[in-house]
Amino acid sequence: MKLWKTIICIALALALSLSLVACGGESSKVTLNVLNWGDYIDPELLRQFEDETGISVKYTTMTSNEEMLVKLASKDNIYDVCFPSDYLIEKLVADDLLYAINKENIPNLKNIDPRFMDLSFDPGNTYSVPYMWGTVGILYNTTMVSDPVDSWNILWDEKYAGQILMYDSMRDTIGITLKKLGMDINTRSEADVLAAQEALIAQKPLVRAYLTDDIKMELINGSAAMGVVYSGDAVYCISENPDLAYAVPQEGSNVWFDNIIIPKSSQHTAEAEQFINFLCDAQVAAQNSDYIGFSTPNAEALKLMDPSYAEDPTYNPPQDVLDRCQIFQDLGDFVKVFSDAWTKVKAA
C-alpha cells in the first residue's frame, strides 16, 4: 500500500514536470532558432524578416564564443543560425558541427567585399558567411592622455596607474600582450605565453579593472584614461563622448570576423539560408551596421551608408592597419597553456 502511493506521487511529479517541458507545442509555421551576441542585430530587421517570409524567429543571446560552443556541441542543439567568431569556426569545422551552405540559395553573397571572403578559418566560405568585422585597439580619452597612443606599451606606463582598463578575456588580453612583445598572436610556444603572463602580472598593479562591456561606460564617463576595446564598441563610445579616440598600435593587433553559420543538426536549413540571404541584402546590412555600430563586410551596404562611416578609420581601418593585424586561430589543445597563464594573471 505504501509503495504504490509513493510510486503515484513520483509519477505525478514527473508528469507535471514533463508537461511543463512539453509546453512549447507544435505549429505548422516554421520557427528559426537564432543564437547571437547581445545587442548584435537591429530587432526591427527580425520583424521585417518575419513579415516578408512568414517564418518566425526565436532569438536568444549569449556572451561568449565558449558558451556558443557548448550549446552547438550539445546533442539536443535547437539552434538553426548562429554567429561565432573566426577561431571558433575552425573548431566547429574540426568537430564536424557545421552544415555546408548551399551558395545558390544566397545570391546576396555577391555584395560581400572579396577582401573578407575565403579567409584562413574557412577557405572558400564552405560553412560561413561574414557578418561583422573589426579590430582590437586602445580607446583613450584625449583630455587625459597627452602622449601619442601608438604602442601597446602605453598600457604599461606607470604614469597612467589606476586609469587603465583591460579586457577580461583570455584570448584578447594575452593576444595583445604577445603583440606588444613582438610575438605571434597564435603562438604555440610555451615560453612566449610565459613571457606574456609575466608582462601581464607586472602590469596588474597599474590596471584599474579587467572588464568586458563595462569598459564602454567607464570610458564614456571619463572614469578611466584608456582601455582595450573592439573597434565597433569604440565607434559607439566616440559617438557618445567626442573626447575619446581609437588607435590600433604599431606592433599590430587582432582583426576578427563574426560569421553566420548553420549547425549541421538544424532541421530548417532552407529557411536558415533564407535568413542569411536576407542579412546579406545591402539595404538590410546597412541598416544593421548603422544600428549596432560594428563594421559591415558588405561592400554594397557600405555604399548605402552615410559617407562618414567609410571615412572613419575606426569603423573602416585603412589597409596598412589590417596588414599588421592577425586573425585568431583555434589553439587546439594548446589552449590549456593559455588558460593556465590567464588563471595565474587573474589570481596574482
Partner: protein, 275 residues
C-alpha cells in the same frame, strides 16, 4: 445508513495519507537537483577519459589554486569579523527594544533581502562609481560582502538574545555586578550559540562567494568561487572545476565540524537557533 458509513470508513482508511508523503516532492527535488549534481561533480572530479584517477585532484591542489583558497578564507574571515562587530550591537539594541519598535527597525535590514543579491551588488557598483578610488579595490569587495551577509549575523544573535532569561541579568545585578560586567560575564557568554550560528552563516557562504568579487573587484580580486566559475565556463574544463569544488567542499565540511563542536561546548541552553 450503516452501509454508507462503512464505505466512508473504508474510503477514509484507503485515502489516509501518511504525513511523510508530503515530503516526497521535496525528497524528489533534492534527489534531482542536489544529490544528482553532487554525484556528477564526484564523477567528473575522479575520472579522466572514462578511467578512475586522482590526477584532477592533484592538479587542482596546486599551490597557485591553494593561494586563491587562502585568499578567499582571508576575505571570509574579514567579512565575518566585520559582520560580528557591526551586527552584535544592532542585535543587542534590537533585543532591548519594545517588540513593536524592534519589528519596525528590523524591517530596515530585512526588506533589502527581498531583492536579489546581484541586483543589490549592481546598485553598489553604481553608488561606488561616484567614489572611483574605492570601486574595483579589495575594500569594495569587502564592503559588498559585509553588506550582503550582515543580516545573517544579526538575525541568529537577535533570536538568541530575546530568548535569554532576564532573571540571569537580575541575579547578576543583585549580586553587585555593574552593567558592563553583567554583559561580559552573563549576556555575552549566553549569546554564544547565536554568535556561532551567525559566524557559520556568514563564514561559509563568504568562503564560497563569487560574482561579488567579479563585480566590485573589477576582475582583479579572484576568489575561489571565481576560480571554479572560470574553470567551468571559460575553460570548459569540467574535471578541474569539479576537483576544485571537491576541495572546497572538504574545506567547508571541516570548518563546519569545528564550528559545530564549538557550539556544543559553549552551551545547550538559551535561545532558538536559526541554523
Amino acid at each position: 445508513m450503516k452501509q454508507t458509513k462503512s464505505i466512508k470508513e473504508k474510503l477514509a482508511k484507503g485515502m489516509r495519507i501518511r504525513r511523510s508523503v508530503f515530503a516526497y516532492p521535496y525528497v524528489l527535488w533534492m534527489a534531482v537537483f542536489i544529490l544528482a549534481p553532487m554525484l556528477l561533480i564526484l564523477y567528473y572530479a575522479f575520472t579522466n577519459d572514462g578511467g578512475i584517477t586522482v590526477e584532477n585532484i592533484v592538479q587542482a591542489a596546486s599551490w597557485d589554486n591553494l593561494k586563491v583558497l587562502i585568499d578567499s578564507v582571508r576575505f571570509a574571515l574579514y567579512t565575518t569579523i566585520l559582520c560580528l562587530l557591526l551586527g552584535y550591537p544592532v542585535a543587542y539594541l534590537l533585543s532591548q527594544m519594545k517588540k513593536t519598535s524592534a519589528a519596525l527597525l528590523s524591517v530596515f535590514f530585512i526588506v533589502p533581502m527581498w531583492m536579489n543579491f546581484l541586483l543589490r551588488t549592481y546598485a553598489w557598483k553604481v553608488l561606488l562609481s561616484a567614489f572611483t578610488k574605492i570601486l574595483y579595490t579589495e575594500s569594495a569587495v569587502l564592503l559588498g560582502m559585509v553588506y550582503n551577509f550582515l543580516p545573517f549575523m544579526i538575525l541568529p544573535i537577535y533570536t538568541t538574545l530575546i530568548k535569554l532569561d532576564k532573571s540571569y541579568i537580575e541575579a547578576a545585578a543583585d549580586l553587585g555586578a555593574n552593567p558592563a560586567k553583567t554583559f561580559l560575564k552573563v549576556v555575552f557568554p549566553l549569546s554564544m550559540p547565536g554568535i556561532i550560528s551567525g559566524v557559520t552563516m556568514v563564514f561559509i557562504p563568504s568562503t564560497t562567494t563569487f560574482a561579488i568579487s567579479q563585480l566590485l573587484g573589477g576582475g582583479k580580486t579572484m576568489l575561489y568561487g571565481d576560480l571554479i566559475y572560470m574553470k567551468f565556463i571559460t575553460e570548459q574544463s569540467w574535471s578541474t572545476g569539479s576537483a576544485l569544488s571537491i576541495i572546497l567542499l572538504a574545506f567547508v565540511l571541516i570548518s563546519m565540524t569545528f564550528m559545530k563542536k564549538a557550539e556544543r561546548t559553549t552551551s545547550d541552553e538559551g535561545g532558538g537557533r536559526l541554523w
